[in-house]
Each structure stands twice: as C-alpha cells, then as structure tokens.
Symmetry: C2
Subunit: 336 residues, 2 copies
DNA sequence: CTGTTAGCGCCTTCAC
DNA sequence: GTGAAGGCGCTAACAG
C-alpha cells in the first residue's frame, strides 16, 4: 500500500532531525520533554514502525537468540524451547528455532545460517558435525544435551551414564536379572553414555548381558514398540526393560499394553506425558528439559553479560521417580 | 577476533568489483566461468559469510516466516510448528517462533515485532486482539485455529462445533445421558464453538444440561484433573466426559486413573501421546495439527507466489477414532 | 539538549 | 560480461 514510513518521515513531521527522533524511539533520556512529545505524536500519527533490519545492520548485531534442537516435535525439545523462550524473551530478544533432524546433513549449514544473521547468541544441540569452525567466532554459543565435536565450549548436559546406571541398579534391587535395553542409535554421544551406563551397571551387578536383550537404533516410538514386541516374543523374554528416552518409552508402554504384558518392569530415562497415568505408572529417571533450558539460558546470559572465563560444563541431576513400573518384581519365567 | 570479511574484501582478493562478487554469491549465470572460479576461491580463502541483515535491508524483506502459536510447549502446537518448519525450510526460509501465552497481553506487540523485521510472511494463532491494524499490511498472513477479530483474512481451522457435536452424539448413541464437559476458557473462539456444539448436541439429543456438569476454564492438564476429580465426587457423577482439548484430556485421564474411575466414558477433541495406550484407550476426535500446518503452509505459499483473490477459509475434517473409552456403556448409577 | 556527517554491507540501476 | 555510483533505514561519533 503506502510506502513504509521511515524515521526521516517522523523527524520531518515533528520538525526535528532524524537523530533526535531516533533518540526518542530508543528511550534516550537526553531529550526535552516537549520534543519527545512532538516526536511521539508524529510516530503515532504516521503509524511508524522501526525497521529492525536497518537498526541491526547499523548496530552490528540482531537481538535474536538462535535455538537449534534435534526436532521441535519431540516433547523433550519443545519443552526446552518453551523454557528458553520464557527466559529469553523478557530480555528483549526474539527466538529463532531450527530443527536439525537426525541425518539431514544440514547441521553446519543451519549453524552458519544463524551466524550470517548476526544473532547475539545461540543454543545448539550438536549432532555429529565437526564444530572446530566455531573456534574463531565471537558470538556466544551454549551447547545442550551433548558435547560438540572438536570444540571446547559451554555445555549443559545430564549425567547420562549415571542415569542408566541407576536405572539398572534400581531394577536389580527389585530382583531383576534379565534387563533389556531399548536404546536410540549410538551415533549420538548421549546415547552412547547411557549405553555404557547400562553395560557397566550390568557388569557390576554381576548380570549377564544377553545381546538379544539389547535393542539399539530405536529412533522413535514406533521402532521402540516393534523392538519391544520382539523382546516379548523371545523364548525367554526380559522381566524388565530400561528405555533410554521418553519417546522410545512411549513405544515400549504401547507394546506392553497391547500385548497384555504390563507385568514387565519398566524404567524410562526421561519423563513423558501420562507416564504417571498408565497402569502401572512408569518409573522414570527425570532427565528434565526445563532444567536444561534454564541452565543453558543462564550460561548464555552470563556470556552476553561479558563473562569471559574458560568454557563451563553444567551437569544436571537425573533423579529417579518411583511410580510403580520400576518396582515390579520379576514376573513368572514363562509367559505369553 | 578478526573483523568480519565483507563482500568488498572478497572482490578485492579476486580482483573484481563488489557487484561481480555479489553476482557469484547469488548464482547469477551472467559471469564468466574464470571470474566465477576466482571469486569462489576468494570466498573460500577468506571464509566469507554473507551478511543477511545487509542483504535483507537492501532487498526490503527478510527470508523468514514468523510463526506465532499459543504455546510451543503444547504438543498440539509443537506439532504444527514441526510440520510448518518441514514445509517452509526447503523453500529457503527460516522460521521464527513466538508463543503468545494466554492473557500475556502481548499479542499485538508480538505481531508488530515480526512486522518490524520485514518478514516475508506470518502464520498466526490469534487470541482476542483486534486485528484491524493488519488491514493495510502487504505481508501475507495466514491465521490458524481461530479467526482474527475485525479482519477478513486467510484462515485454516477445524470444524470445532461439529467435533463436539459428534462427540456428544457418539456418547449418546452408547446410552449416555449424563455427559460432562471439560472445557478451556470461553474467551477463545475455538473453545466457544466447541462449547456450542456440546450444548446443541445435548439439546438435540433431548438431554438435560446440568450446570454442575459443565466445567469451563480448564487452561491446562492440572486444572482439568482437578475439575474431573470434582465431577467424580458429585452425588450423581457423570457417566461420560467430553474433553475439548488434548491437553485437558490428559488431566481427565490422570484423574480417572488415580481415582479408579476408568469406567467413565471419555471422548477427547484432540489426540495426544499414549491416548491409545491407557486402559481403556481414549476415543478421540482427531483435530490434526499436521493438517492445520500443511494447509496453512499451502495458503501462505500461494500468497507468496502472488495469488491475490479474496481471503480463503480452509476447514479441516475432524474424524472420530473409536478406541474404547468412548464406547463404554454408562456405568452403574452409584459409585465411589 | 540537538544536529551533521558518515557508513553498516549489500544490491539495484544503469552504464560500458 | 563487468563496473561505478548511490541508497536501503538507521544510529555511532562527534560536534555545537
């Protein structure tokens, strides 16, 4: 419709220079009240809107924080985003989100896209990319959930190995000896750590690790469901299942319910919707997305506020919440 | 560290003008292969990164699509975002997300913030704001889930009234006469429509609408859970509950499970995680976020591609998926 | 308290 | 096929 109203237009209408109009827009106190009023009136009258692009170009940075997660659809990450947004927005920044879908090969491309936009900072869920290209960057970047390859940087993560370790111990304490593992693909470091925790705990508890009990590569709930069904059909099905992600746990639960096998004990690393409402309710190791978001924001703000020391690793606790499914006794050896 | 490498630097290193370097960066075919190679080498050598801010300022628009939802934490909306991102990104646009939390009063502010960034387009979940201020805007905006107040625009929504209508009919068909409603707050149009569908269906079925059976204002799962518990404690508890949102349904399910009242029939408008795994599995009216996202993207692309006709309203179907909970018979009149 | 000048980095226009 | 000039809208730097 009408051409965009510029600051110059406002200045002209108010009878001042562009710079003075700019001062008013930006809340500079060094402006006479009368002048300020005149400019504000002009802004109102003309319906002026700042051009953020021009402003950011001039300032050299854009008031936007980039957030890269594995998938915005994953409730874990959408919760992380929600928490980040809630903490970041009040500081006057906008949030730009991108999913770095597993295996898309676009990891570096996405990060560079954000760099090209002169963002003030980024919070990144790294995948397998070589992050050494970020070494000479000035923009603060906080990594979450995993460590970036070839870069020493601020990271916020959970004690993954400790989580599965505790999961196995918990189940063993209730008498389980045949504990299956439903795990994501091992190309993600987080997953590897959880896998190791499982192996170590099994070893320490003196339990045999039966390869048929270890199901790696369950990328989503559907795959986890299939593997669980398969486990149930083994001649000697497991009496307990440890699932390493909220999403895969949903698949496990679905399988157990559909096959009337809810007497199989379950521990899930990662809470999920209705985990407390199925029967029995699911015992979880609460790998909290809210906490990860909170600490990541904290780290980012510290860097934005000028903190300049060595990279810091923040490890969040992963408390066990017993709800029933993880406290079931081993079921009778033979079953359907 | 080192000052940012500019196009001019690249041009200098390659021994060409800035414009020629620009041509290479933007894939203009009108460049001699030898020149192109030289520029590309310079880009590589200097590690040049475009300054998107400068480019967008010059071009007059930024290749970003803004998406405003009610809350990124709500699985319904995170699914919408996921679908949008998947469709929008391949077109070379980035996605900027913002939550317009209920009652934050920041609705117009958020939309204007996006306008100030010269985005190419927006997809907006309107709340109660007066959207007449968007009348003279040139940027295409597609509204989802609800109609904007005081603006005739492209909208993608579900047949909300029809959904609850069918929900009630379905339950009545199975013999229910005492059907409670767990509903969100009525200040959202979508919710009002669903509420009306409930009332109309009850009337048409000749069923009395008991005010104590109608629980309005359940903003989240927790509030829905409380109201459900309250319903269960009525002298004459309902034999069926119709919940108008996936999130509130989770609260309903939790309450029923915790109070051993899973013999109360349930129909949920909106699917949710594990709805098919609880016992009984939850019958839903599938208000699909994926479809909403898909049609919204379609509408936006059409406008971006120059379509200029009248605003279009796209209504998505809301099919009923019977899973068990909606097909339960009315339970015995007296209960705990 | 206010204005002038200059330029952020890029691309459009038009010339050659 | 290539280049020179100018400006997108804004704000730093420096006057006054």
């Amino acid at each position: 419709m009408n051409k965009m109203v510029t600051l110059a237009d406002v200045a002209r209408a108010a009878g001042v220079s562009a710079k003075t109009a700019s001062r008013v827009i930006n809340g500079d106190p060094q402006v006479a009240p009368a002048t300020r009023a005149r400019v504000e009136a002009a802004v109102e009258a003309l319906g002026y809107q700042v051009n953020v692009l021009a402003r950011s170009l001039r300032r050299g940075h854009d008031n936007v924080v980039g957030v890269i997660v594995e998938s915005v659809r994953d409730p874990f990450f959408s919760e992380v985003i929600g928490e980040l947004e809630q903490l970041i927005t009040p500081r006057g920044f906008t949030v730009m989100v991108a999913s770095n879908t597993r295996g898309s090969g676009r990891e570096r491309e996405i990060v560079e896209g954000f760099i090209q936009r002169s963002l003030v900072g980024m919070i990144v869920t790294p995948q397998d990319a070589d992050y050494s290209f970020l070494r000479s960057i000035r923009m603060p970047v906080v990594f979450i959930d995993r460590r970036p390859r070839n870069l020493d940087a601020d990271v916020v993560l959970a004690d993954d190995r400790g989580a599965t370790l505790e999961g196995v111990n918990h189940l063993a304490r209730y008498g389980h000896r045949s504990i299956a593992l439903i795990s994501d693909a091992l190309d993600v470091q987080t997953v590897r750590n959880r896998y190791e925790g499982y192996l170590d705990a099994m070893r320490e508890a003196g339990l045999p690790v039966d390869p048929s009990m270890v199901r790696i590569g369950c990328l989503d709930a559907d795959m986890a469901e299939k593997e669980t069904v398969d486990l149930l059909h083994l001649p000697q099905p497991p009496t307990a299942i440890l699932s390493t992600r909220g999403e895969t746990s949903q698949g496990v639960v679905r399988a157990l319910h559909r096959h009337d096998a809810t007497d199989v004990a379950v521990v899930s690393v990662g809470d999920f919707a209705l985990a407390d409402s199925v029967t029995p309710a699911i015992t979880v190791l609460d790998h909290s997305p809210t906490l990860i978001g909170r600490y990541a924001a904290e780290r980012l703000f510290a860097r934005l506020d000028g903190e300049s020391g060595h990279p810091i690793t923040t490890t969040i606790p992963v408390p066990l919440i017993a709800r029933g499914s993880g406290e079931l006794p081993p079921r009778a050896a033979v079953s359907g």
